[in-house]
Symmetry: D2
Subunit: 151 residues, 4 copies
């Protein structure tokens, strides 16, 4: 198996391991899509329980979708990482039944700290929000029974 | 009724009106506490459904609590306002059964844009996260049947 | 002249007009490079007068370079725009005589507000900082004697 | 000498040591005022060389003032610290000859990372900008010949 295929396998294993334990993402109906080394996609449908007083999707739910995609992206290389800080810009309201997609990509990854950008769009490919996540690697791997990759 | 008492009454009316319609905050068990002109407090208990793969509270849930407090604070003067952007720094994990409190205060409010800071602490008064919300007033009032205050 | 060529001409005219009046960029030795509708590049060499107590380039100087590139990018369509807010992540120190480049690209541009990302690299193509600028269009055009384009 | 007085002395020694080596702050005419453990003030007058094409103070110069105050605050306890990231909101333009003041205060300081907020006002006590700095302590002390304080 080539190094590229091996890294891809690690990314998929990490995602599968995390999904199984992530009650919060499950409770919001967040589904993880394609995961690659340093990137991940996630989708979520806006339900009635996600609406705020303005009948638009609560910002926290949009943030949660982005944050989950970010978490899968920054944990895709089997180094356990947590969110240190995030920013989000809300560009367009999300409405009931909207199908939101979040695409997280790695902009920078140092030894410890990383920066990931997430684009959140709706079913019409319109930009709903832009998210930046700053990650911090902690000790330990995502998959307990695998050797942590060197790089 | 003095102007101060009137503004306080408006703040409480806005909060009551918003709470009744905010399905998302209700779904997360977010309770709104004291609301004053420009400020608001909110509380939430971390449930099993809020935990991520690391068995800590999903960042999106902490953000949601802060975002709700922010929303109540920036809508407390009967000018309808939405979140334009937010930043959050995560300083300490929140764990199962933790009781989180968010205190939102107005740092700046111009004609349109406002800046609110929110401190999120746990039941031991330890800082869990720091949040900044940038709000944008839109046309319309929070309470449809009240004249919008001048200031 | 095609619409594309016309927009490119407008971008170059805006840049030329702004450069001539921008004393601050000139004082820092910031040179504007390629300007297109929605994007701009700028370069700056780190001088002894830009160093802080750690003998690295003061963060404010790196920010200034990014901010100038951002300003040229968000004013490239002849709508006068100002910075509403910015974030910057410092990833690697810049040292004396480093030649820094900033590339600003438009991620989002609505009727009023825009979001631009700027990458700052050194002469070895290493990432020095990542910058995000939130712009707000104000009334008026950049070029006083030209009709403001519709779009 | 009490512990409080000792910490105050350390803060002043750190500031004095840094000022002497900070060419960038000097070049902008930034003067450091009161420095305490975790806080610092700095002032700067807007000169013609700081103006941009709109005849207002370049955002990078306002950022630089805030960043210097932040640097003095987060280095006031003799742990060498650098800026990891910053955000700034521009609320009001600064004009020629405006006298700007920046007050940096420590909101959070962990073992490594810290969060400092800086308020920038003009000579009329009007808010010009709000700045947040995230600091990261690096190995080493600010004052080479002093024992690093424990706390």
């Amino acid at each position: 198996m080539s190094e590229h295929m091996q890294m891809q396998q690690v990314a998929e294993d990490c995602a599968q391991h995390m999904v199984a334990q992530d009650a919060a993402s499950k409770a919001l109906g967040i589904a993880i899509g394609v995961v690659k080394p340093g990137s991940a996609t996630a989708t979520m449908t806006v339900t009635a329980a996600m609406l705020n007083g303005f009948k638009t999707c609560h910002g926290g739910m949009i943030f949660s979708l982005a944050d989950s995609a970010f978490a899968f992206a920054c944990n895709s290389q089997n180094h356990a990482a947590v969110a240190a800080g995030c920013t989000i810009d809300f560009l367009r309201p999300a409405l009931l039944d909207d199908q939101l997609s979040a695409i997280a990509t790695q902009t920078y990854q140092g030894k410890r700290s990383g920066i990931y950008h997430v684009e959140i769009t709706n079913q019409n490919a319109q930009l709903v929000a832009l998210f930046k996540g700053n990650s911090a690697r902690v000790n330990g791997s995502v998959l307990p029974d695998l050797l942590t990759p060197k790089a």
